[in-house]
Amino acid sequence: MNIIDRRLNPKGKSLPNRQRLLRRLKAEVQEAVAQSIAGRRITEVDSRKPVPVPVHGIAEPSFRKGNDGRRDFVLPGNRKFVKGDIIPKPPGGEGGSAGEAADSGDGEDDFTFSLSREEFLDIFFDDMELPDMVKRRLKETNAAQPARAGYSIAGSPQALDVLRTMRNGLARRLALRRPRQSDMDDLLRRLDEAEASGEGATVSRLTEEMETLRRRLRLIPWIDPVDIRYRRFEYRPVPIAQAVMFCLMDVSGSMNEHMKDLAKRFFMLLYLFLTRRYRAVDIVFIRHTHEAQEVDEDTFFHSRETGGTVVSTALDEMNGIIARRYPPDSWNIYVAQASDGDNMASDRGRVETAMTENALPACQYFAYLEVDDPPRDSWDGRHFKSELWRTYEKLLLPGVPLALRRATSPGQIFGVLHDLFARERAD
């Protein structure tokens, strides 16, 4: 009898099975995730709690007998029935408790299971990417890949190059004339012959020769430390793409709570997406009323300030930052702007200039999200074109990396984000 303590064995043996299950459920989980994001408060989106997802239809079918025909049951604990008693079937068609007993295990697989936050976000941002990320160059050395670089005489055992080592050994043995086994055998045979025929002189000569060979064999090893070679690796920096995302949010007085919530949701998701998918993406937060300022992430999401609306200030601020810190020839620049679309009519010209002359040529992609109140019935979904929308619409020419979207309810935010940053399929 052996007793083995397995408690320290690695846990999570069924993790690969879970991954396979998730992959199989991808479509359903994605839908559930999109629904769940719509109903959650904005702070919850980034919370670290697991996310429950109801799952249907991962049944494992097999040939089973149905419930028709004649079935027999033997049940324990009969207190009152005698032979020939008739028991009406309970409504619902099933044979009551008896039916349940016989069918246990056949039920459809309907259960809720919780995604961890990591899994949730993975699914959430699956097939999204920053478009057109083409400007690559060597940056700091934190991205490096090992590359073969010849051989070295020192290294770790797993880098031992057996072929090269054996080849060196062979060359050395040949050069130093290490006796081969066949030479030894040959000499031994001749020695035996000489001994048999009694030629004393030959015997002593051969014995001496034998002694020399033996000494050589001892002194010249089969593999010597000088033969050993290791594969050598060098770490070479690889070019990486640098990217910066400008988040421009309108916080002016015309944005009501609902619109601000939508805009913040949008940026929260965008921020999650970027931090999760791209380690090397800089994010610049700019908020504006009638004047723009660059703020940190916390202020951007949580401060409550208000004022008038001059959109061009934000664009100018952004263009200034680009000029100072992010030269467009080596940075992939992305812009996401959220606004209710109100702008001073007098500002239109400056917006157009800022866009056409600086922003659009510099950036890879400019996504504009217009947030609005939910459409009222009498409007029957018609879209009243805002000032800013009309301005941007004129810029919307082929080849211009500009996209305009509208959202009126939290449920649409994920769809819009996904739409804006969906990975373009090859097919």
């Binding site: 004649r70 005698v82 032979k83 020939g84 008693d85 079937k89």
Partner: protein
């Protein structure tokens, strides 16, 4: 005699001491015969992992195991389901998992139950001896896991998953219920052919050529094609009820690795088939053994009164049988029924009543209860065991009744209760409930249109009027179609008359 342990904490020393004492009783007094044991201590989380891979220590990877894990974990975390105290594997050496959370008394109970009760049953029962290879199973599992993993690397997870899904769907149709005829070697085959030919030559009598009759060669209407067809059918040995075996050997489109995967699933299915057939006996045997051993330990003064009470508490909850109208009822508890029947056999052997003498003349009062039980454990499976040994006393104690449910009647009928007229009917009906061959639909490959479009025909022979559940039938048939890669159809026929039932044909082209 001193106590083996005190308190509820366990450590490896006490575990070893208890094992040795239990072994003395089990082998010496009860005369059990077991594989060497390997006890492995695991955590609750690892127990959940083991649950997910159908209780086996190694398993290939598949999403369905992930699904079972998630379900069990949810039930466990919300407190709706406890975990088993142990899992035991039919292997040589016999592996018993015990949980670290168990108290020492529970560990003793588990050792007696699994390491001796189940172990003895695995080693001696006829069904296990015939169908499972305890020595090879762990190696085979390692092979299966690695093979499937290699296939996933080479052919992609999806491709492997498609084969595994289909194979899992046909798992219950993937067992051999009867031993196959051993395959003849080529030499034997040739000798047989020679023997036949010489017999025909020896029996040739020119007189027969003069009998007037149809000249087969001259008759243009003799159908040649069916002849060839029959020959083909004979070569692939139809009918065949082991569908996985059939596809593994004869599917026209599967690649070698796909056939090997079918084989792996089939081997696993066959490995578990004896366990499906012996639930009541296996648990009854193990429960009886642990009860005897723990009681003996207490009699000998090796465990304290407190420990014995703790044992009795969990023992009685394991063997409780809720009544059919209780909300806790979920079928007949195999532990309860098995334990009651084992104790009953012991009673019949040592203190029979007049009724027992009439019902069990061959064992009543033979005075050798353990020898009788060992023989029973070796020779029977659930269905035959119940049919043979369910005594009127047990039927009375359980207050069993027999109900019949005709689908087209609005009511159920009580056809037998625990009285003189009902015993035999109840016994037969209960035995039938444990017959796997009756629970699973009887489905066979009956024809393959070899000269035509290779259509595969499955036949479901119906004995009790119960047809296949249409929803799962169609989805499973789609898997059959995927494995065969040519049109398939399923006929549902009445086993007695052989006629096809109305709407009994499903085609998938």
């Amino acid at each position: 005699m001193s106590l083996l342990y005190q308190g509820s904490e366990w450590n490896f020393d006490t575990l070893k001491r208890v094992y040795d004492t239990v072994e003395e009783i089990a082998l010496g007094e009860l005369g059990l015969e077991v594989y060497p044991t390997q006890i492995e201590v695991i955590t609750a989380e690892q127990m959940l992992d083991a649950y997910a891979s159908v209780g086996l220590p190694l398993m290939y990877r598949h999403w369905s195991f992930g699904k079972h894990f998630v379900r069990n974990e949810a039930l466990y975390r919300t407190g709706q389901q406890g975990l088993a105290y142990e899992i035991v594997i039919n292997s040589d050496p016999c592996i018993c998992y015990v949980m670290e959370e168990n108290s020492m008394t529970m560990q003793a109970l588990v050792i007696a139950h699994a390491a001796f009760g189940h172990n003895h049953f695995f080693r001696n029962n006829q069904v296990f001896r015939q169908w499972t290879d305890a020595k090879g199973i762990l190696d085979y599992l390692a092979f299966a896991r690695d093979f499937v993993a290699r296939c996933e690397e080479r052919h992609g997870i999806e491709a492997v998953e498609r084969v595994l899904d289909a194979a899992h769907a046909l798992q219950t149709q993937g067992v051999n219920r009867y031993a196959r005829r051993p395959k003849r070697s080529l030499v034997e085959e040739l000798a047989r052919k020679d023997e036949r030919r010489s017999y025909v030559e020896a029996m040739w009598n020119p007189l027969w050529t003069t009998v007037p009759g149809r000249d087969r060669k001259a008759d243009p209407k003799t159908p040649e094609a069916p002849q060839a067809d029959l020959e083909g059918q004979r070569q692939i040995e139809l009918p065949e009820e082991n569908l996985l075996y059939f596809f593994e050997k004869h599917s026209p489109s599967l690649a070698g690795w796909q056939r090997e995967i079918l084989r792996i699933v089939r081997v696993m299915s066959q490995y578990f088939y004896p366990q499906r057939q012996t639930k009541v006996m296996n648990e009854g045997c193990a429960t009886y053994v642990h009860y005897r051993i723990m009681t003996r330990l207490h009699e000998l003064g090796r465990i304290s009164d407190g420990a014995y009470l703790e044992f009795l508490h969990s023992h009685t909850s394991v063997i409780s049988q809720p009544d059919f109208n209780s909300p806790r009822y979920s079928g007949i508890n195999p532990y309860a029924l098995g334990f009651a029947m084992m104790q009953d056999i012991e009673r019949i052997c040592s203190e029979p009543t007049a009724e027992d003498r009439a019902w069990f003349p061959d064992i009543a009062g033979n005075g050798r209860p353990m020898a009788t039980l060992r023989e029973v454990w070796a020779e029977f499976r659930d269905e035959s065991f119940i049919l043979q040994f369910l005594s009127p006393k047990v039927i009375r104690d359980f207050r069993l009744m027999h109900l019949t449910d005709e689908a087209d009647l609005p009511h159920l009928e009580v056809t037998a209760i625990h009285d003189e007229q009902g015993y035999r009917a109840i016994r037969a009906a209960l035995a039938a409930e444990y017959e796997c061959a009756r629970l699973d639909p009887e489905i066979q490959v009956v024809a393959v249109d070899l000269p035509g479009d290779r259509r595969l025909t499955l036949e479901h022979r119906i004995h009790d009027g119960r047809r296949l559940d249409p929803a799962t039938r169609d989805r499973t048939l789609a898997y059959v179609r995927a494995l065969w890669d040519y049109p398939v159809s399923l006929k549902e026929t009445d086993a007695r008359t052989g006629t096809i039932l109305p709407n009994g044909e499903t085609d998938l082209d």
